[in-house]
Subunit: 150 residues, 2 copies
DNA sequence: TCTTGCTTCTCTAGTCGCTAGAGATTGTAG
DNA sequence: CTACAATCTCTAGCGACTAGAGAAGCAAGA
C-alpha cells in the first residue's frame, strides 16, 4: 500500500517536520509504521488528518479542542452537537479576546494621541503607564492568554 | 529608611510574590537589599516601579518594551520620542492582532451558523476544518504570537 | 522560653505550541 | 563508491509566568 515519508508529508500539509513529530509525541497524530531503516512511513490518510489539524490551528483552535474534533470527525453517524459546541466555545473565546484587545487599543491610542511630544517629564505615555487612574476607559486588568501562538 | 517586605509589596501592587522574584531574576526590577535573615527589603520606590510594570503588562506591552520604558522614565529631561515610538509600535501590534482575530471570528461564526445540526457526516464545522477551500473569506495562514499572555 | 503558625527563602519543574540545533544514521543518484 | 540529502533521537529554548517542595526566619501568645 502507498505510503508517504515525513518530508513530502510536511510539504503537502505545510506543517514542519519537527512539528509533525511533536504531534505524534503528544498523541495528536498516531505513530505511523517505520521502514526497515526506522523512518516513518505514513498512510496517505495522514495528509488529510494533518491538513485538518493545520486548518484548525490556523483558525485558532487549541490542541485539546482539535483532539476532540478529530475524534468526532471519525464518527460520521454521531450527532454533531459536540463539534458545534466546541466551535461556539472557540468563537466566544475569540470574541472576548477581541473585546479585550479593543480596550487596550483605545487606551494606547489615547496615550499616543495625547502626548505633546516634548520631554519625558511631561510624556503622556509615561504618565499613564505610571498611573492607571489616568486611563480614560477601563480596560480589564489582564487575564487569560489571549490566543495560542503561531 | 522605610522599607517594605515582598508580601506587602505584592498586596500593594497586585503582582504575585513569585512574579516579583521573577522580575528580579530577569533584571526588570533591581535586587533589593536583604534583612539579616536574608529577606528582601524593598525601598518604597519599588511600589511605583512595580505598579508601572503592572500597568504596562495589563496594557499588553512585553517585558522588553517595559524595560526600555522604565529606563526612559528615569530620564525626565530626555526627549519622549522613543517612548512614543514604543507605544505606537505596540498599538500597531494590537491592531494587527485584532484584524487577525476578526478574520478568524468571521470564519468560525460562519461554520457555526451554517451547520444544520445533524450528523457529523454533514457537519459544516467538520467540513470546513477539513478543507480550507470551503472558507468564505480568507483568513491569514496563522503567524506570529497574537499577544503576550496573562 | 517555647511553641505555633505565618512569611519568606531557594530550587526545580511545568505550562503551550512549537522551534532550533547537535550528532548519528539511512537512503539515493551519479 | 562517493556525495549529498533526508531522517533519526535527544536536548534545550522561547515568553511570562505559576506551582510546589522543603527549609529557614520571625512575631505573638502561653
Ligand atoms: Zn511622549
Ligand atoms: Zn489603565
Ligand atoms: Zn455541526
Ligand atoms: Zn480556512
Amino acid at each position: 500500500m502507498p505510503a508517504i515519508a515525513i518530508g513530502p508529508l510536511a510539504d503537502e500539509t505545510g506543517i514542519k517536520i519537527p512539528t509533525i513529530r511533536y504531534y505524534e509525541e503528544i498523541g495528536l497524530l498516531p505513530s505511523p509504521p517505520r521502514s526497515r531503516g526506522n523512518r516513518r512511513l505514513y498512510p496517505m490518510a495522514a495528509i488529510g488528518r494533518l491538513r485538518f489539524i493545520r486548518h484548525a490551528r490556523d483558525l485558532g483552535f487549541d490542541i485539546d479542542a482539535i483532539r476532540q474534533l478529530l475524534t468526532l470527525a471519525d464518527q460520521p453517524d454521531h450527532s454533531c452537537a459536540e463539534a458545534d459546541r466546541l466551535a461556539r466555545i472557540h468563537l466566544d473565546d475569540i470574541e472576548s479576546k477581541i473585546a479585550r484587545l479593543e480596550a487596550l487599543r483605545d487606551e494606547v491610542r489615547h496615550m499616543v494621541a495625547d502626548c505633546a511630544q516634548d520631554r519625558i517629564r511631561q510624556c503622556r505615555v509615561i504618565e499613564v503607564l505610571a498611573d492607571h487612574g489616568q486611563c480614560r476607559h477601563d480596560h480589564p486588568p489582564a487575564s487569560s492568554p489571549v490566543i495560542n501562538n503561531r
